[in-house]
């Protein structure tokens, strides 16, 4: 695997403007994605995961949303500065995206074939016949039976799992360098979930596509990801490779998330859940955003926002607990 990064996000800040007040949904997020790597962005609902991905794609609903700062480097170009037409050339072609809701993400009035060939013909000057052949090839690649017949069928004739496969085929058909998968398995039942994940892993290996997997499900993360970014209330709170995250989580929030994963061997105990809810974006003006829900909260947590610092190699944490230990060491 090459070490060169394909996508580099620096200080990304996306806000929503409600009644002229600025509500930051994504607040100074930095990460980079290497060629052929699968990373996960994890967090509860409302942590800014989806907004991060939409910001990269330039699809933040505007108004009320707007990317207000930062850089997104792709192919040595800042995607936040390129023109809309340049961005259209990148969308679907070099960075593709699949969404959480396979049931509603396909247009109900056009055939599967029409929608996939459309994705090809936007970016390639091919004949309809070539595009159709390619579409059938990709429907087969994502493991859909009777691909030729499917081309003429409508989304409502397909099950949720099949639709998500169609979405993946549609996203992959231009062989993008980066695939952003926004909770691709959330709406599917468990057996289909693992099939879809296996499919993404296979495509990643076969086509060397880098994948950003956005999820709140740590089970999904452990199955296919190499590196994990944990987000909380618009900020990255911890970042490490998947093994470290599961074996030595350092941020209290990450620990809480891992404890909340049900374990079949642990029958007696009541399943752990982090008390409270994700704060409403913009409601916390100073201090650590997790302070109200944190069991290790200290006075300084409410005064100052901790920095994201590296504690060991690539393992980064945003928490005073570790900054202190660093300082003591």
């Amino acid at each position: 695997m090459s070490e060169s990064s394909v996508l580099q996000v620096n200080g990304l800040k996306t806000s929503f403007f409600m009644d002229k007040t600025e509500v930051p949904a994504v607040d100074h997020v930095d990460f980079d994605l290497k060629q052929g790597e699968i990373i996960a962005i994890v967090g509860e609902s409302g942590c800014g995961k989806s907004v991060t991905s939409l910001s990269i794609m330039g699809l933040v609903p505007h108004p009320p949303g707007k990317v207000v700062g930062g850089e997104v480097f792709f192919n040595d170009e800042d995607l936040l500065k390129v023109s809309e037409s340049k961005m259209r050339d990148i969308r679907g072609n070099e960075i593709a995206m699949i969404f959480q809701e396979p049931m509603t993400s396909l247009n109900p009035l056009f055939t599967i074939g029409n929608q996939i060939t459309e994705a090809i013909l936007i970016h390639r000057k091919w004949s309809k016949k070539q595009a159709k052949a390619k579409a059938i090839e990709y429907l087969k690649l994502v493991g859909l039976p009777r691909a030729e017949a499917l081309m003429n069928e409508y989304p409502h004739q397909l099950s949720g799992g099949m639709r998500q496969r169609v979405m993946i085929a549609m996203a992959m058909v231009c062989e993008p360098k980066v695939l952003i998968a926004d909770e691709p398995t959330t709406a599917l039942d468990v057996t289909i979930q693992s099939q879809i994940l296996a499919l993404m892993k296979r495509l990643n290996q076969k086509l060397n596509t880098s994948i950003i997997l956005i999820t709140h499900d740590l089970g999904v993360v452990s199955e296919i990801c190499e590196r994990v970014i944990v987000m909380y209330a618009g900020k990255i709170v911890e970042e490490a490779d998947v093994k470290t995250i599961f074996e030595h989580p350092e941020h209290p929030y990450t620990k809480g998330l891992i404890q909340s994963v049900p374990d079949i061997r642990n029958k007696k105990e009541r399943l752990y859940s982090i008390p409270g809810n994700v704060p409403i974006p913009g409601s916390i003006k100073k201090g650590c955003r997790f302070a109200d829900r944190c069991e290790f909260v200290m006075d300084r947590c409410r005064e100052k926002t901790p920095e994201l610092i590296s504690i060991e190699g690539d393992h980064k944490v945003r928490c005073f607990l570790h900054q202190e230990s660093e300082e003591q060491n």
Binding site: L59, R91, A96, F99, T104, Y154, A171
Partner: protein, 334 residues
Amino acid sequence: MFSYTIRRLLMLIPVLFGMTFIVFFMIRAIPGDPAQVILGQLATEEAINNLRAELGLDQPWFTQYFEYLKQLLTLDLGESLRTRTAVSEEIWPYMAATFELSFVALLIAVVVGVNAGIISAWFQKSWFDYTAMVVALVGVSMPIFWLGLMEQWIFSVQLDWLPPSKRENVKNPVETITHFYLIDSLIQGRMDQFVDVVKHLIMPGIALATIPMAIIARITRSSMLEVLRSDYIRTARAKGQKMFWVVYKHSLKNAVIPVLTVIGLQTGLLLGGAILTETIFSWPGIGRYIYNAIEYRDYPVIQSGILIVATIFVLINLIVDLLYAFIDPRIKYN
């Protein structure tokens, strides 16, 4: 689909039967006597009675009604009491005039209304949106006779750009073939007459289009707003599709069904209810034909005229229903 169409066509029969019943008795319930109208104020009692007997008006109502139904079953629409010509023969020029005007009005209403609705939805809360929706509100509540008179006053009287009324320049009449003057003038290669006919169509067309246009714009806007928020629109954008196609391919097709419903209903109103516009612009259409017949208590013309308009209305709405299934594969008629 085929059996559904047949079923719907069969359902026409009771609907039209009910129509004949209501119209037949209603026009006889209003005061006035065709024989009296035909013969005038000074006619003698005897002459009136003779004419009534000749026209069959001295028979009891139900006998007359069954006679009328028997006629209809042989596809005979009856004979005008006033002109003594068969309704089926004289009605076509009037229908063609109304169709031509309605077609132009509908074209204006759909093209302007749908696009205004789309742009308003896309730029929601922009100045265009606010202006278009205020104009639409004014349009819905605009009295047509006033709008028609204003058009005539400005464009005919003050500016002298457009002819104030009628279908054509009476000094240079179109030789009728189909009675659609646009078509007739074209197939005869008379461009001067074609331009003249178009000029005559503009003002009544706009007057007639105003209300449907406003309704279509508002329905399109709200329907598009709904669709533009959906996930598949985001998918289309994520593919890198151009805005134009996102709107006109992916969104419009999904938003068009409620718009079609309105277009269907409005077409019916245009065909039947254009009396005001036709009167102001002296347009020899079916609305005026029936209106004049009411003045003369020309019973067969009123009955058959309304029957034809009702049939067209039902048929247009059947076509709209069938179009739903054509647009949306999830709609199935069985």
